[in-house]
């Protein structure tokens, strides 16, 4: 490891507010399957000024069984400025997400966002490839939507444990898009098999950039692929967070930048990082 250096904070100009904490109203909240819930809220324009890959921090409700204290980070799964709605997909794992399942239509819920730095898609790119695993798909969904809107071809490989815990893929089924779902259950979700599909896409259709979220093993494979084929790639990472605003340096992770080890905040410089800078 070389001498430590640091992230360069891009300090906001005084007076330019860009993050908002707002009481939103639950519009829809229902299980997707046994493991995931889908929450849609009425959100103000301020928060809906978001981009694919950004996230929000949710103040989960408190009840007699669950008393989450800190906000919980959740990828923005969908946003619709016209309808004034924001959607997330949450995997039910602990205090906060269990409390989310109890929200009823009409309940208030405080949401802070938009947060972090999203995916970069250069205007000149025509074909992008997404590889999502599990709830990682949530982060990639707006990317698929916006890329398709911009006339790009989007190929998505979605890997899940089983059909039973698959997420809805309708946001990925855009004109000109291809969606391939693989599951452990069916035996076609092995890393080798997916890597073969990715390399096929690169070789046969030409891929301008690769995006992934939700699986460290996929990241390792893609790092290799990006290096070998010289394709740019990005990954949305997770880290335990507190402020979500870059304040506390709570969520720093080391990255390799031009031969140095650099600490970057997942909530601020991330959650989206260059695949080749990741240390996996």
């Amino acid at each position: 490891m070389t001498q430590a250096t640091h992230h360069t904070a891009t300090a906001p100009a005084a007076g330019a507010l860009s993050v908002f904490a707002a009481d939103c109203t639950v519009k829809y909240n229902a299980p997707v399957n046994a493991e995931y819930g889908h929450l849609i809220v009425d959100a103000p324009d301020s928060i809906l000024g978001c981009e694919p890959g950004q996230f929000v921090q949710i103040l989960c409700p408190v009840n007699s069984s669950e008393q989450p204290y800190l906000r919980r980070p959740m990828s923005i799964y969908s946003y619709d400025r016209e309808a004034g709605t924001l959607g997330i997909i949450y995997k039910i794992v602990g205090q906060g997400t269990k409390a989310l399942t109890k929200l009823k239509v009409g309940d208030p819920i405080n949401i802070m966002g938009p947060l972090g730095t999203g995916y970069e898609v250069k205007p000149e790119w025509n074909h992008i490839l997404l590889w999502g695993r599990g709830v990682g798909l949530a982060s990639l969904a707006p990317l698929a939507v916006e890329a398709a809107k911009a006339g790009k071809k989007v190929t998505t490989i979605y890997s899940a444990r089983s059909k039973a815990v698959q997420l809805p893929i309708d946001q990925f089924e855009q004109p000109g898009a291809t969606v391939i779902t693989v599951t452990e259950e069916e035996g076609n979700s092995g890393l080798d098999n997916i890597r073969r599909m990715v390399e096929e896409q690169i070789k046969e259709n030409g891929v301008d950039a690769i995006y992934t979220c939700g699986c460290d093993l996929a990241l390792i494979e893609l790092k290799d692929v990006c290096r070998i084929y010289n394709v740019p790639g990005e990954v949305a990472l997770e880290q335990r967070m507190a402020c979500g605003l870059g304040i506390g340096q709570c969520c720093s992770r080391p990255f390799a930048v031009e031969g140095d080890i650099v600490h970057k905040r997942v909530c601020k410089e991330g959650p989206v990082f260059k695949i080749l800078e990741t240390l996996v």
Partner: protein, 314 residues
């Protein structure tokens, strides 16, 4: 509008609400207008460039959190060229926060940070003193006195000593700081704590132990604020678990001249501004013209109700 202003020695604050070091940064300017604060308190910096502790650096405990960030620091130069000009855009006084592992190193950074634009220096003496047995300077009166004396001779700026609740002698430590030349004490930093993930059996923090902050800390640091305010003649700044107007009032009543808000900002990013507004409304509703009518007003000498009862019956 009531008079919310307060003085910490020579430093005049428009209101008693300011951030706690390490829970505030340039980034918060994205969320609200920093001019609403009584002061701006920067993250602690050290002379050496440091990365901080291994992750996970934070975890949640019931109703509160723990951190072991470890003071990542980009050094004094970065502060001068980046943070200082940024904070110069705002009117509230800027308080720099510094730390060091030895008395000499502490004095050196204290001298270096004494620069135009810095109104006061908060000295985070809650950090380990590697020259002694690794215990924080602020855990014992002797080490607190030694470092404060050295710091006093290193700067003319007001010095605020940030104390630790990890001591059995908070009043004595505060007195040592006063004797050493501190212009105020801040009560206090986080309390050493621990949590274990029972599934992996690993500590929830990469650093094994870390500092407890948030609502759980409030009754403890409030007590320490009370003890220190009784013990010293310099102003005391309360800190620990403040989330509501009631918390602010409790700290002021036990003798704090101002308060710092830390972890609550993570939960409600605009909490400091909300508190300023609520304090103003409270004072108007209760016909309190000046903050000094609240500061130190706890009725601790009066017999508790039931004792009164009992005595009346004798």
């Amino acid at each position: 509008m009531s008079n919310l202003s307060t003085k910490i020695g020579s430093v005049q604050l428009a209101n008693p609400i300011m951030p706690a070091s390490g829970t505030f940064s340039e980034d918060l300017a994205q969320v609200f207008d920093l001019n609403r604060l009584g002061a701006l308190v920067a993250k602690t910096i050290t002379r050496e460039i440091r990365n901080g502790n291994p992750t996970p650096r934070i975890c949640e405990v019931r109703g509160s959190m723990m951190n072991a960030i470890g003071i990542p620091s980009k050094g004094v130069d970065y502060f001068r060229t980046n943070s200082l000009p940024f904070y110069a855009q705002f009117t509230p006084p800027l308080v720099a926060s510094i730390s060091a592992p030895s008395v000499d190193e502490f004095a050196r950074i204290c001298e270096e940070i004494t620069m135009p634009g810095v109104t006061a220096i908060e000295v985070n003496i809650s950090c380990p003193n590697i020259e002694e047995d690794g215990k924080a300077f602020a855990m014992r009166p002797s080490t607190a006195l030694a470092v404060m004396k050295k710091l006093r001779s290193a700067t003319d700026l007001p010095l605020w000593a940030k104390l630790t609740p990890n001591t059995g002698e908070p009043a004595e430590v505060a007195q040592a700081c006063e004797e050493g030349g501190a212009n105020a004490v801040v009560t206090a930093n986080t309390l050493l704590a621990m949590a274990v993930d029972i599934r992996t059996r690993k500590p929830k923090l990469g650093n094994v132990m870390g500092g407890l902050s948030g609502p759980s800390l409030k009754p403890i640091n409030l007590r320490m604020t009370y003890q220190c305010a009784k013990a010293v003649n310099i102003p005391v700044i309360g800190c620990g678990g403040i989330a509501t107007l009631e918390d602010v009032l409790e700290y002021l009543m036990v003798g704090a001249s101002a308060v710092q808000v830390g972890t609550s900002t993570f939960v409600n990013p605009t909490v400091m501004v909300d508190l300023v507004d609520q304090l103003d409304a409270y004072m108007r509703e209760n016909h309190i013209n000046d903050l000094s009518e609240i500061i130190g007003s706890v009725r601790d000498k009066e017999a508790a109700d039931a004792v009164f009862f009992q005595e009346a019956a004798e």
